[in-house]
Symmetry: C2
Subunit: 775 residues, 2 copies
């Protein structure tokens, strides 16, 4: 762990430049707007360690699969969001010397991510080898208001000299990925163009044929007076630049405002990209950099009004949770159902910007509560759009009759992953996708979604589970063989309790929905049956499985067994491990991990989290007490579930302790891997720890429920959520639970099992201590 | 299946040239002498489909591991025997036109592998585009008499013209492997040299620094009269050639005799390779091609006298078994304990020429019976030489106290494989290596081997098993979790019966050996204890495991269970599969294979084969009847074990049917993969089917036992074996079992449970029908 930045409620602040940590900072200070993401690479030349990353969501390249030993059924390619045209690029020359922070003395370096207003700024003084000192201030943002616009302002002041400054502002499409499997190139040149002050570059991905075009305007100023300088155009391969040569006087500040319009064939015809970008850019430059920056701040104000979370009395925690919310909002805005949330968002190459079950299991709750309903709806529609491919995917694995297996890792519905134990066997993802539909409807009440989209997906998933189990003569039950549960430290096990549990739930939920729809809305029912070639006899097959699915358990211990044979393992807990052995995934060979009792992340407990209403506290307690001590939490998605369950068990210290593990995971580079990118999806877990754990928020029977507590070291915490069109603000302090209803209509909420009405435009204050004493 | 060659008792004959099948022929007609192997590539230029292969045993390159997702413990490299200096290379130009069978009309093409005398010959007429016809005869061999020598004679006759012929005889070290993981180069140039008629090239493997040097002499003849032609030397990168320009008259035959001395740093100092090769080559050229060829024939006569197997009345079977024996002898001669037997020998790149458990489980019986005792002894010493690396290998997986895990795939003791379910979990190989020691001692009576080498290995393996099991509180037994058995269509299973069985046997055998050695030879015992830091308390730990190891079984079915939970699978047999689904490894996704009941190769049955004396016929029968119908035999190592067990169960038709599956596996390109190389190790299985199956040969209490039968379609079969220094010839016909003792001393054998004495230099004829009626 290293405390990387200064404590601050609204800003991430780096003071002083440490080249060793530059890649970490490049991740931390990433900016994005759901449509594009940009690592905090320097605008100007940098010859030190860096991971260049300019990503455009939805634009990906199918990199040829690399695998040691091919298994039948593996996908041919791994689809990855790739490093794209670099729009921030500048080269600064002072009297012929290139400004490069790796080659000169750097003074007063400051990098700040302003989360309130949504921009990244940087300032420093560079002492060149010539002894000349320049002072630089830069600011940049990806507009969340207008998501095809990004802008930067770069200011250079001549501190102790007068001379020549050359500013090269470029668009560079000759970029590569560090994780390219075969060092192949991903991009082809399409066209470029230049105009008065603008440059334009269009490139195309090989194979997938996505066109990306960026048009950038350049305006130069001397101490705020615009300069009329004719730039010279220079072209290289997939590269276009304007060269500006200027004189600079001691004390003078030369500024460049570069505004970029970023458009792609996702949204326009390939031939129209020049015209479209010109049109968007013209409008944006008409507004000007300052106005665009203002709009950005306003857009962020609006976001924070929907989703801010205030922690009183703990500045580091405050900074951590704001950073999480900020990055989640930057990663996914829900405007486009073709986009999704990569585990590292668009802040690095790892996990390829692709979609995992993280979205449904961990991220959805955040967007449900903190964004308009369309946002989470689009997360669901994303999977519905992939249904046909999921059916085809299942077919390649031998399934029939419209059974669907959604991919483990995907961009557009095509499976990308190639470890058999994951790709083919970590099938519980299908369950999470189904559960997300339930979760969405539970939270939003949007039942129309089911007939429009949801039931198609549920039905195909139910069909998958139906075929994935088989009858065991030996057990006289249905069994599910050869799966990998959420605990990926077990592979190819039989009867993983969690997978069986969520499979049964899927069958039951889908069956009940279909049965009630038939009664409530026969014509919709008939449409769904017809378009999915659904036969009612399937229901009795499902019921047979529901009635006869095997669940491993141990009656004497009173626990569900993670899988068949789990009790054959050595009976150890994490306290039996030496410090030097941890994390075991870095210190033990894979087979040793597999046969050990150690658990990567919640597995049985993930099931008890999802289906908590089916289990009493004692059952939860026994399973928690059995499994948590065996859990090494080597997934950043593990602590949040344990935090929420610990809170439910009234183990508030434990709940807080688990929350802390991810609260500042990236800010403090806890796992020493922040340089690869940020743990975006586990940020949603931190948020869940607070909302579902500390505040104990649930939706039951269409009502919000809370069973709150306040971590000892905090004075209070409060958060905004939207529930069924009411914008609410909840504040939990030592003695009081306050809920403020900012909508016009009254809302019924349940606090510590006591129903309360909060009238429109009013608040209630509910005494907490009292309730705790009572209960 | 395609019948590739003409039926013939001693030759493999291809008539007519089919470029489509050239790579198959290149494998089939491979020649070798244990020290080197050479695919049947053409000497002259060939621009059609070809897999070039000149391999030198023991010279390998550590190709950087290619893997999709790294698992802790994987080896960094995959060691592979690599394509080396091409010594056969010629280029022939007729009046400026390059002779290339892919570019001209080919008439009367014949390729023959003469197994009796050990050479490959080829003849054809080529009609060039110019209309000129040349007639070519070539012969080549790798000398098994003198294993650093190879030779070829290439004869060109001008059929219908007079003109110029240019012969370029070269050594080409600028070669590559088709299976190179990263297209890296494997070889560096060291030096070259040329002399009167010789060329010399020395290259060095990168990383491993093996030097290989070949010196070749070239003699030219016109109609058997030696020509004095000064060749011109031409060099290219890692390439040296002599160019000879000659006139040829219609009807004249020009011959080139090229003799190559192949030496390496395995046997000499790198600096001495020129001198050594010169010395060897000088001696060889002094003998001349014809004499070398004669010596080769004599050496092969000697081999066949030790190991021939004659099948009367079935020419195809005769050809098949001779081909198997020939290839086994070509692959391994047992002169050098650093060498071993790759599954494809040195006939292709697949399996990298590396050592698998095939050697111990399938090949050892062949060499035990058909070669001097040193040959099998060296197969064992090979593993002893790797003991320290096997201990280190186990250490990287977390084992301690001198426990050894021998690698799954290796050249020099370093693990090469990188599939976790195989590398880390297919640990039964350790058992086969231990069993081979037992098998060797049982056959040869060479108990000294145990104190000298064997016990070190057994002890380290026993220590491995001791640590690999763990106590299951649930079962109140020791269990072995997370293994892959011989049936690789199951991965990461618990309590694989076979693995548990062989582990228990290892512990028991080693313990008993140590206990009896302590009584019989205390000082040897103490030496072994001391050098292995062995504490006697270990024995009681072993005994505890022997007494309490869990074995899955089903009492009602009366069978051992392949692993925990095997009975949860669908109760199907191979007859339930559609023809279009087979082989399932090409038609089903991996997960489907894994959760299916289908078995790749003998697993429980492999244990019943190894430990047959511990199980009665009824037990064998129940298990055979349960498992064989579920076995898809998608390993070429599967049918032989089933053949032997079927013979034991007196199911002679079945035994014969299984034998047939591999009898001509490559000759008839049964699995459509012969182009990759020959199935060398399964050839040993074919031999076993006949010897252990049909002849029912076993060694029990130091005596040979036979329970013979004759396949219906054969008239008789006979074979040579050496047992305890007696060269024996056994012949089984319809009515008579004949055994001829070619040694001086009498031998006691057991035929159908009846003990018989065969006096020295005499034979007995034992009536079979009668015995069968009696029994």
């Amino acid at each position: 762990m290293e405390r990387y930045s200064k404590a601050d409620a609204w800003n991430i602040i780096e003071e002083g430049f440490d080249p060793q940590k530059n890649k970490i900072a490049e991740s931390l200070f990433s900016i994005g707007n759901g449509r594009m993401g940009q690592r905090a690479n320097f605008e100007e030349t940098y010859s030190g360690e860096t991971l260049q990353g300019s990503y455009v969501a939805g634009i990906f390249y199918p990199d040829k699969t690399r695998v040691g030993w091919w298994k039948n059924g593996y996908p041919e390619t791994f689809d990855k969001v790739i490093n794209s045209i670099n729009w921030i690029g500048l080269e600064i020359e002072i009297d012929g010397e290139v400004l490069d922070l790796h080659q000169c003395e750097v003074l007063n370096f400051n990098r700040t991510l302003n989360m309130q207003d949504g921009y990244l700024s940087r300032s420093f003084e560079a002492k060149l080898t010539s002894g000349k000192i320049v002072k630089v201030n830069s600011i940049r943002f990806c507009s969340i208001d207008q998501d095809e616009i990004a802008g930067l302002r770069y200011q250079i002041e001549a501190v102790n000299f007068s001379g020549k400054v050359k500013i090269i502002s470029y668009l560079d499409g000759d970029v590569r990925n560090e994780d390219s499997n075969y060092e192949t190139k991903f991009w082809d040149f399409v066209r470029d163009h230049d105009d008065q002050d603008t440059i334009f570059l269009q490139t195309r991905t090989l194979k997938t044929q996505f066109d990306l075009a960026i048009q950038a305007s350049n305006k130069l100023f001397s101490n705020n007076t615009q300069l009329e300088v004719a730039g010279e155009v220079v072209r290289k391969e997939k590269f276009i630049a304007k060269h500006y040569e200027l004189s600079i006087k001691q004390g003078e500040q030369i500024s460049l405002e570069k505004i970029a319009a970023v458009v792609s064939s996702l949204n326009y015809n390939q031939e129209d990209l020049y015209a479209k970008s010109a049109q968007i850019l013209t409008a944006a430059t008409a507004l000007g950099f300052e106005k665009l920056k203002q709009n950005q701040a306003e857009a962020w104000t609006h976001k924070w009004a929907e989703g801010d979370l205030i922690i009183e009395g703990d500045l580091l925690a405050q900074q951590g949770i704001r950073f999480s919310i900020f990055q989640l909002y930057q990663t996914y805005t829900g405007k486009d159902a073709r986009l999704n949330i990569g585990p590292k968002g668009f802040t690095g190459e790892k996990y390829a910007g692709a979609t995992y079950w993280d979205t449904e299991a961990y991220c959805l709750p955040f967007y449900l509560a903190t964004s308009p309903v369309e946002v989470s709806r689009n997360l669901l529609v994303y999977r519905h759009n992939h249904l046909q491919k999921a059916i085809e995917n299942a077919q390649t694995l031998g399934f029939t009759n419209g059974a669907a297996l959604f991919p483990m890792v995907t961009m557009d519905g095509t499976e990308s992953h190639n470890e058999w134990e994951i790709t083919f066997e970590e099938i519980h993802r299908n369950g999470a996708i189904a559960f997300a539909i339930y979760n969405y409807v539970r939270y939003t009440g949007d039942e129309k979604y089911l007939t429009e989209f949801g039931l198609d997906v549920l039905l195909a998933i139910a069909r998958f589970w139906k075929q994935r189990v088989n009858w065991s003569k030996d057990k006289n039950k249905f069994v599910m063989l050869g799966v990998t549960g959420p605990n990926e430290y077990e592979n190819n096990v039989n009867n993983n309790w969690y997978t069986n549990r969520i499979a049964l739930w899927c069958l039951d939920y889908t069956k009940k929905l279909l049965e009630s729809l038939k009664v409530a809305d026969l014509s919709s029912y008939e449409i769904i049956c017809s378009k999915n070639s659904f036969e009612e006899t399937e229901l009795s097959d499902w019921q047979n499985i529901i009635d006869n699915l095997y669940f491993p358990e141990d009656k004497s211990l009173g626990i569900f067994l993670q899988q068949d044979g789990y009790l054959d393992k050595e009976d150890l807990t994490v306290s039996d491990l030496q410090k030097s052995e941890r994390p075991i995934n870095q210190n033990w060979s894979w087979d040793r991990i597999l046969r050990s009792p150690f658990i990567k992340q919640a597995d049985v407990l993930q099931g008890l989290y999802f289906f908590e209403e089916d289990y009493d506290q004692e059952t939860l307690q026994r399973n928690y007490d059995y499994y948590e001590p065996k859990t090494v939490h080597e997934s950043s998605l593990s602590p949040c579930i344990h935090s929420i369950l610990a809170a439910k068990l009234k183990r508030e210290d434990k709940a807080y302790e688990f929350y802390l593990r991810t609260a500042r995971l990236d800010l403090d580079n806890y796992n020493n891997d922040t340089e690869d990118g940020l743990h975006i999806t586990s940020m949603a877990g931190s948020w869940m720890s607070i909302i579902e754990g500390f505040a104990g928020m649930r939706v039951k029977n269409g009502k919000l429920n809370f069973t709150p507590f306040l971590p000892e070291s905090w004075n209070a915490f409060s958060f905004k959520i939207t529930f069924r069109e009411s914008l609410l603000e909840v504040r939990i302090s030592k003695n009081t639970f306050r809920i403020q209803n900012n909508s016009a209509h009254p809302l019924s909420v349940v606090i510590n099992n006591h129903q309360q009405i909060v009238n429109g435009e009013s608040e209630i204050n509910y005494p907490l201590k009292e309730m705790l004493i009572k209960s």
